[in-house]
Subunit: 62 residues, 6 copies
Amino acid sequence: MPTITVEGPPIPDIERKRQLVKRLTDVAVEVYRIEHITVLIRENAPENVGVNGQLIADRKKK
Amino acid sequence: MPTITVEGPPIPDIERKRQLVKRLTDVAVEVYRIEHITVLIRENAPENVGVNGQLIADRKKK
Amino acid sequence: MPTITVEGPPIPDIERKRQLVKRLTDVAVEVYRIEHITVLIRENAPENVGVNGQLIADRKKK
Amino acid sequence: MPTITVEGPPIPDIERKRQLVKRLTDVAVEVYRIEHITVLIRENAPENVGVNGQLIADRKKK
Amino acid sequence: MPTITVEGPPIPDIERKRQLVKRLTDVAVEVYRIEHITVLIRENAPENVGVNGQLIADRKKK
Amino acid sequence: MPTITVEGPPIPDIERKRQLVKRLTDVAVEVYRIEHITVLIRENAPENVGVNGQLIADRKKK
């Protein structure tokens, strides 16, 4: 602990995942003053996320 | 917010996902009287879910 | 399974919780064609939720 | 309920998943004295998990 | 990682929480062969959990 | 989406929560290049978290 879970769209580029983990961890270390931080990245397919009643997959088609 | 996460078995048909997102959102809008609703659908493989100590994958084999 | 988790603001009225659980369950039963549904309601204090970088607690003050 | 969610690395062997579900359930039944237990196993790719600011995927390369 | 989250009813007795954490951890260490395990216990009020469309709080009243 | 959930110990100071939300959001906006970010802070009581088989509450007693 702390554990940070990020739910978002897929991130195709591992360098961006590296940045995300590194920078979220830096923020958490400073705010919590605790060293041991875990980050989980969850990549959600556009057909599994709905915003305001509509699938992201359908929004993109337009 | 609100965010609704649904953990369930795989849904093979995108039309059913569309219905799920649309209808869960309608309920949440009415009950919370808030417009911005996100729905996350999680599809769990039968070998990653256990009910009462037994994998769903094993139950299906019988 | 399925399990539906709703993250939202506090709901002060148990009758609205009753409605939320009842109606989300009805939707899930129809879409999944599975009878056993669990719903978890999470009530988040406004000082523990940030939207677009700002705490809900701060937004309300204005 | 109760529902136990395990976030971990991939488990390549279904027999180990079987053991995990069986044994976590046994513990929960004893402690909660409730029979109906669900276990969800989540397998996280090493490029989606960061520990102390570093992706597991990068740690393994060394 | 691994992180084990247990969603259940309130546990009024800290000794039972101690047992829960100790024993879930033992199982996870054996199955994952990883030493660092975190367990989160979540206690859900009966008015925030619905099973099959009914709040636990209402079920208890009968 | 994206939604960032932080599981950690209690944060007694709202200014630190403000900082946490603001800075996690800034990171997410940059990495995802998406504007709409939600952050949920979860504060876990020391008797509800176990690390390596021991409750945090017990560790503090020593």
